[in-house]
Symmetry: C2
Subunit: 293 residues, 2 copies
């Protein structure tokens, strides 16, 4: 019973791992025979931004590891201004844990970091889940100056998580209601909270997005080097990282499935958490060398 | 045991239903408490072109109904030169069977007919699966004059189903091997075979594709009228009806999920039949008003 009671991001204690030059904040919970699942977080997100409705069902078959990259939450160091810099920290963290190989769920910014890690060290991931993210050279990545994003981000009447509800969910009553439920779930964690990200974190991560928009050589060619079975997911109405980026991912990754959700934005995995965790669990349960599950 | 033994497109007897002015050929097999699944077939396909590896697993929970549209296989009548004409025949067939409502799997041409039926009679389908198909106004629909298709279609060394293997599967060894297995499965049916389609069937269906490429009013706007939970599927390397058409479908259908398979062409559902039937069965088993499953 104690395992069940602690296998939630609502209650899991934050831990700290010295590795390389930093001390990384993380949470590790759940159990099971499957490979651990590293979860890489979105723009300005901390450990507290992981929806327990997504992490907890996945933690019933495996350990789930949530990670604050350098300079985020309570991890020491400086937020890198490149995805490559963030990938180096994430690899150092896994080395510090002694994990040679794991599965990964990379959401948004975290999906870019996961791709970079797979390119730099192909053995690090067995199966990859990339949600609401983009390949290097992708289009319209996190342009917060767009009116649809600038408006809620600059609205003084929206406080705290209310902004997240606006920008992570589609402007329909059903999606906004799902956004409200998501926020309620995040607020269930009351103690041992992470340090929220300030403008410095945001600025460095935006710089990293701008650098990631620049192709290296032939656009998308490097994706041929990511051979892992990969599940790509997206909401169809994603204003932060449009779904076309997920199309480009699966058109160029050699071994990727695509799953797109209706009536949803950037936070499709939170809106449709029951479907998403069912699909993700089935995908991760497969031992096939091919992505289809 | 007798139910199990006959619940296959390899052995199901062909039946004939007089309805309207025609006599329609069909096969109906399987059993279970779920709603019957109408299967609408691809360009020049007959009852014999349904892969038992796709139809039979789905027939374990429901009746599967395969249907020859007018002028195809052993159905009487003239092949319509519009999708609307084909939809009228399919509706007359369901009326003749006394089916007020069913689920549908529309593949390629059959997916267009399914969309048209749903627009004309919204109550006819509960849940829809559309694979390798396109919305009205879609792009590059079955242009057999394209070199990648004209070459195998005009190759005198390719006989019978060998052409299908070339054009339904991607030009990789893994996809072509899956195509070979698909052909083997089709050839398991030895008796009570359908009449193969000749050039007349092909010409009329090509005319229907050309008409379907013409938008009615604002491109894709009519898809807002299809409210059914819909699962859209495609192979990422589909030369016959490119995957971009599936993108346009789920961007404009209000309640649709997208599933795209790697390393596959038009016949993705046959190549990944285990995954496809698992996904399709889970989708059809849902009673949610929303597509995600």
């Amino acid at each position: 019973m104690s395992v069940t009671a602690t296998a939630s991001n609502t209650t899991a204690p934050t831990q700290f791992l010295p590795a390389g030059n930093e001390r990384y904040a993380y949470r590790r919970f759940g159990s099971g025979s499957a490979r651990p699942l590293l979860c890489l977080q979105h723009f300005t997100g901390t450990l507290d931004n992981w929806d327990p409705a997504v992490t907890d069902p996945l933690a019933s078959e495996r350990e789930v590891i949530l990670f604050d990259n350098a300079g985020v939450g309570r991890s020491t160091g400086t937020v890198p201004q490149t995805i490559g810099g963030m990938a180096a920290h994430a690899l150092a963290f896994l080395d510090g844990l002694g994990l040679d190989s794991c599965d990964v769920l990379g959401f948004s910014l975290g999906g870019m970091v996961a791709q970079q890690m797979a390119l730099e060290r192909p053995s690090i991931f067995r199966r990859m889940i990339l949600v609401g993210t983009a390949p290097r050279g992708g289009d319209d990545i996190m342009h917060l100056e767009k009116p649809s994003l600038a408006r809620p981000l600059g609205d003084p009447t929206l406080e705290g998580y209310a902004v997240l509800q606006k920008i992570f969910f589609a402007p329909t009553s059903s999606s906004q209601a799902a956004g409200g439920a998501f926020i309620e779930r995040l607020l269930q964690r009351k103690a041992d909270l992470d340090t929220p990200s300030g403008p410095g974190v945001a600025a460095a991560q935006i710089a990293a997005f701008r650098e990631w928009e620049q192709p290296h050589g032939t656009r998308f060619a490097e994706l041929a080097g990511i051979r892992q079975p990969t599940l790509v997911g997206n909401g169809v109405h994603d204003d932060m990282i449009p779904v076309s980026n997920s199309y480009r991912l699966i058109e160029n990754l050699p071994n990727a499935m695509l799953l797109v959700y209706p009536d949803s934005g950037h936070g499709s995995l939170f809106q449709f958490h029951e479907s998403f965790t069912r699909q993700a669990a089935a995908f991760l349960a497969s031992d096939s060398p091919f992505a289809p599950y």
